[in-house]
Every structure is written in structure tokens, then in C-alpha cells.
């Protein structure tokens, strides 16, 4: 199995160009790991999610979306922190950030995205985007569970 190809959307001329490149890779069965999802606008991230979930051309996994979908589907204890891990130098700081979430970001504790996010969006400044993306993946996981039952 080949390693997923690291992919930076913002290194392309436009988001449409980035999406076209992802389409080509995925159509050929190549897995990609999106390195700069946190920099995308919500509509851009949702376009990626729509391609990943619904487009029959999407054959290669698109990480971290595939990992998040799998975690939601199998109710695994896996979060954005695991799929987009901080560098070694940041581990202690991010752990302290998570411990302090109830004080610094109390809204996280009432958020439906928390099981998959655990404050990652607040840390990375991409909360708004993840609050749109994660429910889509959660809904897809619920649909898949229903289909499996049937």
C-alpha cells in the first residue's frame, strides 16, 4: 500500500485548481492527506467533503476526512488531534490547552462536534469550518450505519 500523498491546497493557483488536482489523484486511487485544511474556507472544505462522500470518481482516501468518517462510523475514540497531530515541540502546549478548554473555550463543552474535535478547531483557528464539516461526516456515518443494518 502506498503512502498518502501530502497535499497543500493553498500551493495551487486557486481552490478550483487544487480540487481538480485532488480529483485526478483520487480517481487514480492515490490517497492524499490534506496538510492545510485549517486554512480553507468553509465552502471550500465542504466542496472537498462533497467530493469525498458523493463523487463516484473518489477512489483514493482523502485524509483526514476518511479517518474522521471511519471514527464516526465505528464510534472510535479518535479526534482531529490524532489525525492532525501537533509537532513534538507543541505536544505539551496542546495538552495544556485541552486541559484548560472548559475555562478558555467553555462553548466547546456544549458542542456536538466535541467528540471528534476536542478543541482542535479552537486551537487551529478553524472552528467555524470544522463545525460545518464534522456534522456532514457524522450524518454520513449515520447513513452508512443504517444501510449496514438494512
Amino acid at each position: 500500500m502506498t503512502q498518502p500523498t501530502p497535499f497543500h491546497c493553498r500551493s495551487h493557483a486557486s481552490f478550483d485548481a487544487a480540487l481538480a488536482a485532488i480529483r485526478r489523484l483520487s480517481r487514480d486511487g492515490q490517497a492524499v492527506v490534506l496538510r492545510d485544511l485549517d486554512l480553507l474556507e468553509s465552502r471550500e472544505a465542504l466542496a472537498l467533503v462533497a467530493f469525498f462522500l458523493h463523487d463516484p470518481e473518489a477512489k483514493g482516501a482523502i485524509e483526514p476526512l476518511a479517518g474522521l468518517l471511519s471514527a464516526a462510523l465505528h464510534r472510535q475514540a479518535l479526534s482531529l488531534w490524532d489525525l492532525l497531530p501537533p509537532g513534538d515541540a507543541e505536544v505539551a502546549v496542546t495538552e495544556a490547552f485541552i486541559r484548560d478548554l472548559p475555562l478558555r473555550h467553555p462553548e466547546c463543552m456544549h458542542c456536538a462536534c466535541f467528540p471528534l474535535c476536542i478543541g482542535y478547531g479552537a486551537w487551529a483557528g478553524s472552528c467555524g469550518m470544522w463545525r460545518e464539516v464534522l456534522p456532514r461526516l457524522g450524518a454520513a456515518a449515520r447513513e452508512l450505519r443504517l444501510l449496514r443494518r438494512e
Partner: protein, 366 residues
């Protein structure tokens, strides 16, 4: 299955020194209009979310202070709002049992059917559980007589014993006494909670126990339970043992990590809470049955917070704990009492860990 802890009254004829539900406020009784709304709401809930099953535990206060007319109405409303809508209803009652007489026995028989059980609390130590306005020892006499009536009627019962400081030196005797005198009964040991009357300074000074003391009490009682042949109906030992030995998943609410999906509590004013303890302590109130529908109840922010609590604990305080599956951070109300935060683990964490280490780590090693 959803368990609904329903308190038709917060009045009580007993005067237990450590009552966790005691309040200085005037007592209230549940009326038929609210009762109908409660049954309708939770009938809707069980149809939508729980496969048409509902377990109803009558609780209090002392529920058998409610007059026979109340029970007639309640059973009629159960038929109308639950049974006739196809909901399989299982019932139980938690009572101090002192009002179980030949007059009230038919109410219990009708309520419980063949499967329901009576839950009751008792303390053989004098001066702990007494009746208001009656001589010392009256509670014990009436309780023992009631157990005889239940046995005679073929009604199953379970006994809750609250472990407190004065009982710590006598736990093995207490265990043996219950098992000898009530061998068919379920038996459960709980730690004293610092809530209600037990939170008053004098009571807590006399009766309060620490987390470490609870851990030592569990170890001692576990020894008595093992020597007794590990009966499965003695809690909390049976479920933990089955989890450890066989991976059976049947922990009680405070350790299951699923309480938010399995329990509700409703007070005599129609307030809906997370559970019976929350109803006693006024924590995690979802609203009133007058205003709530199942969508509002399902989407309530408290439910999200409680679900997120597990994720948060697993990622922080409980991250490296090898006993996570045995307690899931414990009861949120214990966490609140100990630290004031709903995101804290149970205040009995240290004691539980010492118990798990002493019993299950030893087992695994051998």
C-alpha cells in the same frame, strides 16, 4: 432501556441522619395532570428512541405516603398513556418499606406484576434511620415486618446499604447479617454522598467518609463477597467482576458511562432531571414536562455536555487510567459534589482506583 425515576412526593415519614434528598422546603405531591404529561412525554420518548420499552421506578420522598386514590389514577394513566400505546412497561419502587402493610400490599402487587422489585434502604445500626415522631427502633421493626410481608407475597426485593463512618468497623458483620437474613434479596453498597442532610456539618463530621475510606470499604466488602461465593446480585461487586472476568457489560448507572442515555428523573413538580440523584440535588434540570417535548429533551445542552464529559475525561484526567472501562469517570454528581465541576471525575476516584488495583490487578497478575 430508559429508566425513569419518578418522585410522586418529596414528603417522607423517616428522619434518616444522612438523607441525601432532605430539603427545608415544604413537601410537594404530584397531581394527575402532571402525571399524565409525564407518562405522555416518556411514552413518546420510548417510542422514538427506545424500542417501546420503559422502566419506571417510583421514588421519593416516600412514595407509599401517596394515598390509594393516587395509585388508582396512576395505574389508569399508565394504561392510557403507555400500555395502550404499545409500550412495554416495567415497574419498581424504592421505598423505606415502613408503609408496606396488608393495606398497601395490593398496590405493590398491581404495580410490580411478576417481574418488578421493591428497592429499600436499611441500616441495622441504631440512630441512623428512624421514623419521625416515633420511638427509636420503630423503623427497624416496621422494616423487618415489611420484608416478611414481601416474602410472604412472593415479591422480590433488594436492599441498599449506605456506607458511612460509623459503619466502617462493622462492614463484614453488616454484610453477613443481610446475606443471612435476606439470602434471596439483592444487596447494594453505596458510599454516603455529601448531599442533603448529610452535607450538614455535624452529620458529615460524624458520618462522612473519604474517597480512600470508600476504597478500603470496597476491598473489605469484596473479601466478604468472595468468601460468600460471589453472588451475582450483590452490587457493585457482581457487575465489576463479570466485566473483569468475562467482559460482560452491565455496569450500573454511575460507572456505565451511559447514564445520559439510560436515565431520567422527574420530581413532584414535573421538573425533568438527568436522574434521581440530580432530582435530589437540583442538578442537570432539563425543564418542566409542561414545556418539554422529546425533541427539546433530546437536543438539550445538558445531554451534549454529559456526552462530552466522557470524551474530555478520557483525553485528560483519565487518559492513562487502566480502569477507565470499570468506571468511565464515575457519577457526574459525585464529581460536582467533590470539585464543583461537571467535567471532573468522581470524587471517589482515588478509592476506586485503590480497590481496582487491590482486587483486579491482583487477579490479572495471578
Amino acid at each position: 432501556m430508559t429508566t425513569l425515576i419518578l418522585k410522586p412526593t418529596d414528603a417522607c415519614n423517616a428522619n434518616c441522619r444522612y438523607c441525601s434528598a432532605a430539603s427545608a422546603a415544604p413537601s410537594r405531591n404530584l397531581g394527575p395532570e402532571l402525571l399524565q404529561k409525564i407518562f405522555t412525554l416518556f411514552g413518546d420518548w420510548s417510542r422514538r428512541f427506545d424500542g417501546n420499552h420503559l422502566k419506571l421506578i417510583w421514588h421519593g420522598g416516600e412514595p407509599l405516603l401517596m394515598p390509594p386514590e393516587f395509585w388508582e389514577q396512576a395505574f389508569r394513566l399508565e394504561d392510557e398513556c403507555l400500555t395502550k400505546r404499545g409500550i412495554a412497561l416495567e415497574q419498581g419502587i424504592q421505598t423505606n418499606a415502613t408503609r408496606i402493610t396488608s393495606e398497601t400490599l395490593p398496590i405493590l402487587q398491581r404495580m410490580l406484576g411478576r417481574l418488578g422489585t421493591v428497592g429499600t434502604s436499611y441500616d441495622p445500626m441504631p440512630g441512623i434511620r428512624e421514623l419521625k415522631g416515633e420511638r427509636e427502633g420503630a423503623y427497624a421493626e416496621q422494616w423487618e415486618a415489611a420484608m416478611g410481608l414481601l416474602r410472604g407475597a412472593g415479591i422480590r426485593y433488594g436492599i441498599l446499604y449506605v456506607v458511612h463512618r460509623a459503619s466502617l468497623p462493622h462492614l463484614k458483620e453488616i454484610y453477613a447479617r443481610f446475606r443471612q437474613q435476606h439470602p434471596e434479596a439483592g444487596l447494594r453498597f453505596n458510599p454516603l454522598y455529601r448531599q442533603g442532610r448529610a452535607a450538614q456539618a455535624r452529620s458529615w463530621e460524624d458520618l462522612g467518609i473519604t474517597s480512600e475510606e470508600w476504597g478500603r470499604a470496597l476491598i473489605e466488602l469484596h473479601g466478604a463477597w468472595e468468601a460468600d461465593g460471589r453472588p451475582g446480585n450483590v452490587l457493585p461487586f457482581g457487575p465489576w467482576w463479570r466485566l473483569h472476568q468475562k467482559g460482560h457489560w452491565g455496569l450500573s448507572c454511575e460507572c456505565s458511562g451511559k447514564c445520559v442515555d439510560s436515565h431520567f428523573g422527574v420530581g413532584p413538580d414535573g421538573s425533568v432531571y438527568l436522574c434521581g440523584r440530580s432530582s435530589d440535588g437540583g442538578t442537570f434540570r432539563f425543564g418542566s414536562v409542561v414545556d418539554l417535548d422529546i425533541e427539546a429533551l433530546h437536543a438539550h445542552p445538558h445531554r451534549q455536555l454529559l456526552a462530552n464529559r466522557l470524551v474530555f475525561l478520557r483525553r485528560t484526567t483519565c487518559r492513562d487510567c487502566p480502569w477507565w472501562l470499570y468506571c468511565h469517570g464515575g457519577c457526574v454528581n459525585d464529581g460536582l459534589l467533590a470539585s464543583g465541576s461537571p467535567l471532573a471525575p468522581t470524587g471517589f476516584c482515588a478509592g476506586l482506583r485503590s480497590y481496582f488495583e487491590a482486587v483486579f490487578a491482583r487477579e490479572s497478575a495471578s
